[in-house]
Symmetry: C2
Subunit: 734 residues, 2 copies
């Protein structure tokens, strides 16, 4: 039975944000028969009962994250939010009293607190060192207030609103427009915070501020935030709607990437849920063709087989859809997004639901056996507010997940990584994106904040599996330049499971140089796993050096080429991330294929690459100029072509075998690729011959300049004529 609210009037009473009066009735009616909800409720009750027993503290703000006052205020808002929900669900006044007492303690102290003493933020808060955390506090606390609204007298409400909520909302908005009037995840939290308390207080002026920004304020347009991002662009839309409109593409891709979407999605969705419940006339879930609900699907599709998010832009490894903010994302996505049964299977893995109407809907869905697997397929997600600023393409085939990035820059968290890719195998990263140089909330490492190596290493082009020209990062490593451009998709064709193609072009990263990369997954009937074909085509007006790094993870087993390892490593370069790479060994190619066979997580992999005579092959290792051991010391292989205008890098990557340290059996330890060769390369076409050890071969041809699906092509190679329709063809020679 679906929960209903009145499209005309919404929920006028309380609670009406994440819980509704009707929802509370239905939850109470179902308690004891909805296992996942009952379990979450019991755990929450146990936690809050213990906290009530112990008592709370509202300390004078003092610390950065990790410190006592920071962690205590953070804990407080979570406790209030939970206690509020418990009051509604269990109808036990001790929970309401707990929230009330804590709120009154805040209302007493808040007016006496100056700006937070720690100076590091461009927008310092009052409870916390940055307004961002103050906004977190308000998003949660508004829910608690809504839950105990009817428990309070009007006079009590007046006190709280006058002494605490209104000045609090003003502080993070009017008094910090450089924080509030942005399009950025910080501002999203700020907007949602003000919006949530506006809904709880029924304050339409404040709601308008949340939705449309603080009007008539001005601040330095050149001001930057702590991550080096510009605070505003000229003529920029502001407020919650602007924050939904700009970072989300029509496909629901969030331009900062899934790691930050995971963080941002909570305020987007919790506020949208409250707005939908209270003011359905805003039709917030229909905004921009339903982009908020599409974003849920996009986010989940940007996770690997284990649910861990792909590393796009600044992102910490290991973050996954098990993160608590994804509980509400999944539940809201289910409840307001048409009850997709695939989401139930993720909710079930999460093992927890939100204690509200959305969580009830999920719990009932699971109880009623509606769950289906959430199947992740190959998908292209456009970037840019209008969906015309490139995309992320994910090819999925036989356990492999290849994440190909041809997006816009990704705001202040973007990396200079156009046309890079990363490869996952059964949920394990095999060809990596480094992620970010930060240990979030680990105080030992730079206070848990971004380390300087994030700028000098992790964002740089050489830290990614893509072309570096003349040892200089794309866009000169400058945000002002990089944020003006985006790559462009060229082909994304995944209809045939045995042959999937993603192709994209980048023409601005290096002025005068055009990059065109095509990644293909090919399932050969004779082998267990598909393999990846990678064609990176570079053409320039000038003669350059081109480096293509390959960040394999694991232990080198064998190469088919000789190399000299230095007695002690050298440092590869001076800047743009090169200063962080040791050069451990090198070799010069003779024009034959090079092969690198390695072992990772008890699987054997081989990289096979076409070379030209005198290409340089470099074994590098991350870790130079890293005085505090901030970096992970992983390896790379760099293929370097010098003094050429044009270059073509062609390689395959196979996951072909397994090892067991228990049985000590090595199965299919070697590559199945006998030879890889370029049999044609012109402005119009590139053709690669893949010969395999089963004495078969395949030819892959791509049309470099015409991606029309219906165009007819004809090409003669070595006296053989190939004809086909569309931008590419794979011919099997048996």
């Amino acid at each position: 039975k679906a929960l209903v609210n009145d499209e005309q009037t919404g929920n006028q009473g309380h609670p009406s944000l994440i819980l509704t009066e009707q929802g509370v009735k239905e939850i109470r009616a179902n308690l004891g028969s909805i296992p996942i909800f009952d379990k979450t409720l019991a755990a929450t009750k146990q936690e809050i009962d213990a906290e009530i027993e112990q008592g709370f503290d509202v300390p004078v703000p003092k610390d950065y994250s990790g410190g006592y006052t920071h962690e205590t205020h953070k804990k407080n808002y979570i406790l209030m939010q939970k206690a509020g929900a418990l009051y509604q669900i269990l109808d036990d006044e001790k929970y309401a009293k707990f929230v009330k007492d804590m709120l009154f303690e805040y209302a007493k102290q808040y007016p006496t607190w100056p700006i937070h003493p720690k100076p590091r933020s461009y927008a310092r808060g009052k409870l916390f060192w940055q307004c961002l955390n103050d906004s977190n506090w308000l998003v949660y606390t508004a829910q608690a207030y809504d839950c105990i609204y009817n428990y309070l007298t009007e006079e009590e409400r007046n006190t709280l609103e006058t002494d605490l909520f209104k000045p609090f909302a003003d502080y993070i908005s009017k008094e910090n427009p450089q924080f509030f009037n942005r399009v950025h995840n910080h501002a999203t939290w700020g907007n949602a915070a003000v919006g949530m308390i506006a809904l709880a207080m029924d304050d339409d002026e404040l709601l308008d501020r949340a939705l449309n920004g603080v009007k008539d304020v001005d601040f330095d347009p050149n001001e930057k935030d702590n991550d080096g991002g510009y605070i505003r662009k000229d003529g920029q839309q502001i407020g919650f709607y602007a924050n939904v409109n700009e970072p989300f593409s029509p496909d629901g891709y969030f331009t900062e990437g899934p790691y930050y979407q995971r963080y941002a999605s909570y305020p987007f969705l919790i506020f949208a849920q409250a707005l939908q419940n209270k003011k359905p006339e805003h039709k917030v879930f229909e905004f921009k063709d339903g982009v908020l609900l599409k974003s849920v699907n996009a986010l989940l599709n940007l996770s690997d087989a284990d649910g861990e998010f792909f590393l796009l832009n600044d992102a910490q490894k290991g973050m996954s859809y098990y993160n608590s903010s994804l509980i509400s994302t999944v539940d809201i996505g289910y409840h307001f997004g048409g009850n997709n049964p695939g989401l139930l299977s993720i909710a079930k893995k999460q093992g927890e639901v939100t204690l509200d109407d959305a969580g009830l809907a999920v719990a009932l869905g699971i109880k009623e056996g509606k769950e289906k697997p959430f199947v992740k397929k190959s998908i292209e997600l456009s970037d840019g507010a209008n969906g015309d600023e490139g995309a992320v393409g994910v090819l999925r085939s036989g356990g492999l997940e290849l994440v190909f990035k041809y997006t816009a820059h990704g705001l202040s968290h973007g990396h200079y990584d156009k046309l890079s890719y990363a490869l996952f195998d059964d949920g394990d990263e095999v060809v990596q994106d480094y992620g970010m140089a930060r240990f979030v909330n680990i105080e030992q490492k730079g206070g848990g904040n971004y380390l300087k190596e994030n700028t000098t290493w992790a964002k740089q082009t050489i830290a990614h599996n893509t072309i570096v020209q003349n040892e200089t990062s794309q866009f000169q490593g400058k945000y002002d330049i990089g944020s003006q451009y985006h790559s462009n998709g060229y082909i994304f064709s995944v209809g045939n499971d045995s042959l999937q193609v993603a192709s994209a072009k980048e023409e601005n990263a290096y002025p005068g140089t055009k990059l065109h990369r095509t990644v293909v997954t090919i399932k050969d009937e004779d082998y267990d796993k598909p393999y990846v074909l990678d064609i990176m085509r570079v053409s320039s007006q000038n003669s350059n050096q081109y480096d293509l790094p390959f960040y394999f993870l694991g232990h080198i087993m064998k190469t088919n080429f000789e190399y000299s390892k230095y007695d002690v490593p050298k440092i590869l370069g001076k800047s743009d991330g090169y200063q962080h790479l040791y050069k451990e060994a090198s070799s010069t190619s003779n024009g034959e294929n090079i092969q690198l066979n390695w072992l990772q997580n008890n699987k054997f992999y081989t990289y096979t690459a076409v070379t030209s005579n005198n290409n340089e092959i470099i074994f590098g290792r991350i870790g130079a100029n890293d005085p505090e051991f901030n970096l992970r010391n992983e390896q790379t292989l760099i293929l370097r072509k010098k003094n050429v205008n044009d270059a073509l890098f062609v390689s395959t990557i196979e996951s072909h075998g397994t090892y067991s340290p228990v049985s000590e059996l090595a199965i299919n330890a070697y590559s199945n690729i006998a030879n890889l060769s370029v049999i044609h390369n012109s402005k119009e076409y590139t053709a690669v011959l893949i010969e395999t050890n089963n004495d078969k071969s395949k030819v892959f041809i791509i049309s470099n300049e015409n991606n029309d699906k219906d165009a007819a092509h004809k090409l003669a190679i070595n006296d053989k004529e190939y004809t086909w329709k569309g931008p590419y063809i794979l011919i099997e020679n048996k």
Copy 2:
């Protein structure tokens, strides 16, 4: 119902080795009602049916391991063994015929085969490149022959015995006494092989050869095997009983360590089982006070929380009691060793039983719900045939497992690692023993055999967490010297779960220098996890340099001391393993404690060490002089004391906190140790003061020269008098 055989006559018919006539009857009677057995049987039937369908090959021997002929002959003996068991259990002649056909193919070809063409072994086989693998073949094939014995005509049996089994047994014994007449795992396989076929053929002369060796042969006493081990010692006992007697201590510890015991245990136990079944009058399981059954318990106790074996001597990481040879070890241990219900829980995890009388007993035990957890406690296992050649001490406390090694050398697989230790936490290695430099059966890496870095690195003292004097390995890294000596246990006291002490001395590794190490686990009531206290005391007649490496695994979070990281690493030394270590950073101590805080597997650890003024602190990394990337590039911290006769190294290791990349919460990220100091150190006593952050402190005092449990001690330190009884005391100052 126990299976019975006649103590007087044994099982005279066939089958009588691993299956008995009575056993077969009982198995058939229980089929369908013994799930773990039924499941194993079904899987085996499916496998063998497919192989029978496909047909077999008996190729002319040609390859090393990994190659086709090697792998095929290896597969063949396993198929025959399984098919033989299926014939008995399922009573279907197609299985007998499969074994018979394959045996006749071998009987036809074997006489025509010369010595195997690959020259690498000191004892070349005929089917395989080494007699070891030929012996594997015969151990399995003898079981198959026993199973189909009654299916064959007498003439057929004569053909097989005359053309195949007898010459085969003669070849690996009489013709290769340098292989057969050893005390070594190779010889164990040889002895068992000859013994098994002797039992199958009822050949008492051959059985005597298996049990007591080939008499009246001589070979060069200075000959070494491929691992550099001596082939025989003067006046050495030979044959199966000698192989049981010498490497196993009275506690059942196998001197080569658990990795090799795992490999060796199959022939020991499978042959003992056959001998017990067929000739119970030998009372093989009573030999040496039941050492074979004790060895099962010892082996299982030398595994971590996941069942992975500790890394003692040459050992590959990841080997565990899930290895197939442990199925029979556990089943035989259960069936012949008094039906220990703890073994049933391991059998259940293994998910498989042997298809024989022992497997039936386990399956019945599980079915009848007799299973109990196999609880591993702190344990000391003596080394040496008489149990007087040192020991391995394992301290287990609150998820920590500390493996302290004060054994004899461990035959040709031994490392120069006296008084080293390794630490595991919830089954993860945290302070590591490197293990071996070998990728077993991975042909890409030196054919899957030992790499030269096993000798130059993995066996060397500096590769271990123990003292290196003057950059020279213990016993000069010479097997001839090291194998003459052993360390001696001094204290092993684990009666109090909150305070466990293992202490041992080594006085021969460096002539003129005495090493005395004491490791202690202390459970402080204020903290979640126990911590380790390590006291390494060195005293010498000469002035030396002492290095104590600490092989922490994980990422450095923070140190409490400044260090300079070099632009490019230096190489630490010239020989004895030092040539494989890069020196990445260094520091000089000021006499205060040094602390190293690191993160591994989302747990925070801290190492705290007492230093003297001007001790050198070196951050090293494995990987120098490693031209083929054979080594893992892990880190170490080395504390170096120069130009001293005596030295005292005192440190603690804590597992104190956790991190989650999903919640991004760091809990208890810092050490609880406020200060560590030596408050007394004399010839007689060493006392350490441990001050913790809860403003409490403890004093640990050890009596260095009197380990009498009843001796009374009195010691004044800083005007305070301590009196106690026994070799150590922990005093808590509250």
